[in-house]
Symmetry: C2
Subunit: 430 residues, 2 copies
């Protein structure tokens, strides 16, 4: 029962992802038609500059006027792979107003304006799908939003940025420093010329906001996500991690509080045990670990970026949205009914690994231990190493709030015997 | 915008999974209502015997007349967690005819009669969902059917039976033999008193049929799945695997042929490299590795069985089916349009690890190598070990068809110098 009038798709953006979406739409047209129940037709492609030859795309479809394209009125689905906030936001909203549903891969926009975009979709009775916005090809939005819809998610712990995982994996396996590993990532095309969005955790923070929102049925804005980059992770940190039976990963962590009434979302480097499934995620791969009441521990693993993997996620959404259009229904929209409190970083409870440079004289450990005790931070282990009148003290704490730990560190810095705080690293996944 | 008339759910079966479904429906009623857009009500529970106290379930809802329950006409969704072919099949079909959609966890039934059940669902405009039938809580059906709907899956490689993975993991980590590891699995409740369905690969074969059907948009019946159990895997096999840098897993493998026109599905023990993500799947966990054109390599990991994990999958489906009922739509049904040829095991191409007991005299290797050559099976490595007039010969082949390999082994057995074929194990995941 194949409908013959094709569904019309407008593609906004024709870079690495967009061109791959167009290519697959052409080469796999028969499969897509069979799976949707109607053919899909590329009706227009909006680009920044025309004149460039785009293999497999009819030049007559290419336009620089994206606004006119989304306003045409005969477009069924707009696929937005431009990225960034504007003009993507206005184009998507305009698309809804002119009768189209939207598939987007735009994590920055979804993290910042997800609620408004969902509202616009709902007001117009249209779909907004964005599996490609988080962890590339890895099915994650759909499993969280649908497969786990009858469960209660307590924690999402993920490696959601391939660039930083490549760098950290390189540091771990070769003993290289941050800069050396970054240079290699850049040379191999894993890091951009300006790597800020990746290495400072902005990219991962956007994904954390999206994941937390879906996992906890609560609006989590980008500003709610605590963010710490990984540019200060050193080879020495990796040596310390090894001594703990750990490695270091840049993690996005979304957690429900023990009493269930609040949630937190954060991105920072952390030590995780080598036995944890996330520890063995190599190179530029992504993986997300989900803990829920009934399902227990699930993990989703795969390529987190790249033209083809991202296109795979976009096309999966395209098929779903097209099916919805044919059946006259819409898929699940925003679910924020739980409306839990989003707590600040100070409320996060975890363990810490702290390296201190201290004077090598009697009584230092007692002083340091007193400071921890005064701030209610319980010490799990201490290791002391002397070297020529100086010494280092490595403290691993039991679970404590980030606020208590910050207070402890502040007080430690004021001690005469503490020359410096060499590193503070959270310990997760235990 | 909450609808107040509740959706009515009939539960068929109230064992380990069913009682957990009922419990979560009660304790998480508000969450389910918010996510669905209407409350769900447990309208009846069909059991084999009444009289047993069932915590949290109103005794007035319990009945032994499952047929009357599915015929009531006011049931929105029937949740079937009885298992087995009959009466489950008739009850599901009857449910469709009387206006209900169905959520099932019944792998045996889906593998045997999936096509007929899908047809019954479609004829009545109803949904048939069964995420829980494969790999428990791990979202797999939905990702394959929806997230990868715009991609082309080439291979599914999975550990889909927790009992056998527990046994093999135990053999691997302790050096135990099969019987000893099985005894421990039985004592710990991981293996049933009669472990046949698990250890002989029947359970995994049913899951392979379901996965292959969805992955390749082609009907794959249980009879199409080649099946070999893992009762003959020995401690010696694990030692051989270690020498190859491998471990042994019972794998369900669904593959598209190189030319894309045919598919195969099979279950058997196989060596896989320790570096493969499936190699580190421990205990009773399941994991499925999916390779597709655009997405590349994805892995899904989690608990493959148990009351709570299976209930999580059932409830995710329940939410989806309820949403569909509210919107008047149905989800994706059977997709078998590709209708590829399902080829027999003889057409499967892979590598083999063969251990032969041979006479320890000159010329044996030449004889053996000649047999391989005559059958067109190319040898990668040979290792010879002498011991008191006898010797063993370990041959690892390049990729060859199963038919060629079978012919080779048959011919080897006829050689005077070959005392026996100690083991034949496929090598996968390279």
């Amino acid at each position: 029962m194949m409908r013959t009038r094709p569904l019309k798709v407008a593609l906004l953006g024709c870079g690495v992802v967009g061109s791959e979406v167009a290519r697959i739409m052409t080469t796999h047209a028969d499969d897509l038609a069979a799976r949707i129940g109607a053919p899909v037709e590329l009706a227009g492609v909006a680009v920044r500059r025309t004149g460039k030859a785009r293999e497999g795309i009819d030049p007559a479809l290419v336009t620089t006027d994206a606004t006119a394209l989304v306003k045409r009125g005969d477009i069924d689905v707009v696929v937005e792979v431009i990225g960034g906030i504007e003009p993507a936001r206005t184009l998507i909203t305009t698309a809804f107003e002119h009768g189209a549903s939207v598939v987007s891969a735009n994590k920055a926009l979804l993290a910042q304006d997800g609620a408004a975009l969902h509202a616009a979709a709902e007001a117009n009775g249209k779909d907004l799908y964005y599996e490609a916005a988080v962890a590339g090809a890895i099915p994650l939005i759909r499993p969280l939003r649908e497969s786990l819809a009858g469960d209660k998610v307590n924690r999402v712990l993920g490696i959601v940025n391939g660039t930083t995982n490549f760098i950290l994996d390189k540091m771990d396996s070769t003993g290289a420093g941050y800069q050396e590993a970054l240079d290699e990532a850049t040379a191999l095309g894993y890091a951009e010329a300006d790597p800020t969005a990746d290495v400072e955790g902005f990219d991962a923070a956007a994904k954390a906001a999206i994941l937390a929102g879906i996992a906890f049925h609560t609006r989590v804005r980008l500003d709610d996500v605590y963010r710490e980059g990984m540019t200060e992770v050193t080879a020495a940190d990796f040596r310390s991690a090894r001594e703990m039976g750990c490695t270091i990963k840049l993690l996005a962590i979304c957690e429900r509080s023990k009493d269930g009434t609040s949630v937190t979302a954060r991105v920072h480097p952390a030590m995780i045990p080598l036995s944890h499934p996330l520890a063995s995620v190599r190179g530029a791969y992504n993986a997300v670990f989900v803990e829920s009441d009934a399902a227990g521990q699930l993990m989703f693993y795969g390529p987190g970026a790249g033209g083809s993997p991202t296109a795979s996620a976009v096309l999966g959404d395209l098929v779903a949205v097209c099916r919805n259009r044919l059946s006259g229904a819409t898929g699940p929209g925003e679910s924020a009914y739980a409306d839990l409190t989003v707590s600040p970083m100070g409320d996060v409870v975890t363990r810490y690994h702290i390296s201190l440079d201290v004077a090598d004289k009697p009584g230092v450990l007692a002083q340091v231990a007193t400071v921890f005790a005064e701030h209610g931070v319980s010490i799990d282990t201490v290791r002391q190493q002397g070297k020529d009148g100086e010494a280092s003290l490595v403290v691993v704490t039991h679970r404590a709030s980030d606020a208590s730990l910050s207070g402890t560190v502040e007080a430690l810095r004021k001690l005469d015997t503490v020359r410096g705080v060499a590193s503070i690293m959270r310990v997760e996944g235990e």
